[in-house]
Symmetry: C2
Subunit: 230 residues, 2 copies
Amino acid sequence: MPYTYPYPRPNLTVDCVVFGLDEQHTLKVMLIRRNLPPFQEQWALPGGFVRVDESLDAAARRELQEETGIQEVFLEQLYTFGAVDRDPRERVVSVAYYALVNLSEYAIQAATDASDAAWFPITRLPPLAFDHDRILQTAIVRLKGKVRYEPIGFELLPQKFTLSQLQKLYETILGQPLDKRNFRKKFFKTDLLIELDETQTGVAHRAARLYQFDEQKYLQLKQKGFNFEI
Amino acid sequence: MPYTYPYPRPNLTVDCVVFGLDEQHTLKVMLIRRNLPPFQEQWALPGGFVRVDESLDAAARRELQEETGIQEVFLEQLYTFGAVDRDPRERVVSVAYYALVNLSEYAIQAATDASDAAWFPITRLPPLAFDHDRILQTAIVRLKGKVRYEPIGFELLPQKFTLSQLQKLYETILGQPLDKRNFRKKFFKTDLLIELDETQTGVAHRAARLYQFDEQKYLQLKQKGFNFEI
DNA sequence: TCAAAAGTGTTGACGGTACACCCATGT
DNA sequence: ACATGGGTGTACCGTCAACACTTTTGA
């Protein structure tokens, strides 16, 4: 007969803050409209209950897939929220994650998905269910902090990108303008960009060169104690 | 009649990695010997089940108090560990915390406490129960990282300390020697040290001046966007 | 030919690092 | 008087920030 620990258990959920960057360089978050109480019809972070036979990471990926169609993205644990009254009905502890996606690939999916999902600029958010606003703010702080010392910004861009796209990404997330020449110098010095033999197409001005993030090299350098910093 | 979410629930615990620094400048962790299965008689992190009517932070503080007598210390959430098989009996998700204490105040308590608690140097650890070794390693990485850009090191020292103590603390945590003059210059420049009109006593050489951490000023500067870095 | 963004170097200021000796105190 | 750690300043070097013009392309 299987042993059972004799303690009452809180409910356990995961919630995901999914960030995307649109063509106008606006940082957006994916929200879904709840169709069940509590907070029915309100916007909330995608998420749901953790199953007893799946890890937390697996639960976060599953919920993301089920509710938004998003798959195979950068996903990292953010923080665990456990205030007693964060759910009006019952005790629910939630392990929050944040994800970074390339919005151009997912914009269509989200719109055509059966469930009611939409991207909101982080500066114009609707009222959110539960303590999801607090979770979201925590995620924004983390993203701003982490982007400076880990090369995670690439996760928000297409695989091939221009240096201007990369710079605008940093300007958006950090909320400050950056000097073009210094930005390029800094990034070239990290040696993490693969220069491609391709350029932008379809722009009404000189076409910019395309680059790729060299993840292999990053992992190598990281092991050797190299520190990314921008 | 109260609503109940219709989902099975994993067990939920908190575990605490308590760091202390002894007089020989060794970084130590407090462990307790388990007197219940599973892993009976093995060393483990202090921790236990989260009650349905207490927050996660409160649970961590309560367990710390109950199992080690430690109270009112720096305590911060570390990470939530949720692998399916991390407990051999049942599904248990654990929210890990780490704490920093001034060991000279707690060395006695721990020794005289009824429960079997002891300090271990992090370089000489016994085999640990569950995945506690992994939790501990995660805590060490976090401590090493955080000590550089947040003034949390003071939590490991007595309220009044010498600059040499502070320097050795950093050398211990970071695992590298630091230049004495540069270290002092850097720290004075942060303006976070209150110079006291007191000196060390009972040493067989010139007595060092004592300092205190100026937490008030730190909070002020932090609000203004100041960044601590050592 | 015009508009719009791509691409490119130099200089000065500042901060970080390396480094060695005298001082105060207790035994 | 000696052993032990406390306390102090400078010079060099590398890094970062500021800054403006030419190039390419499509419309």
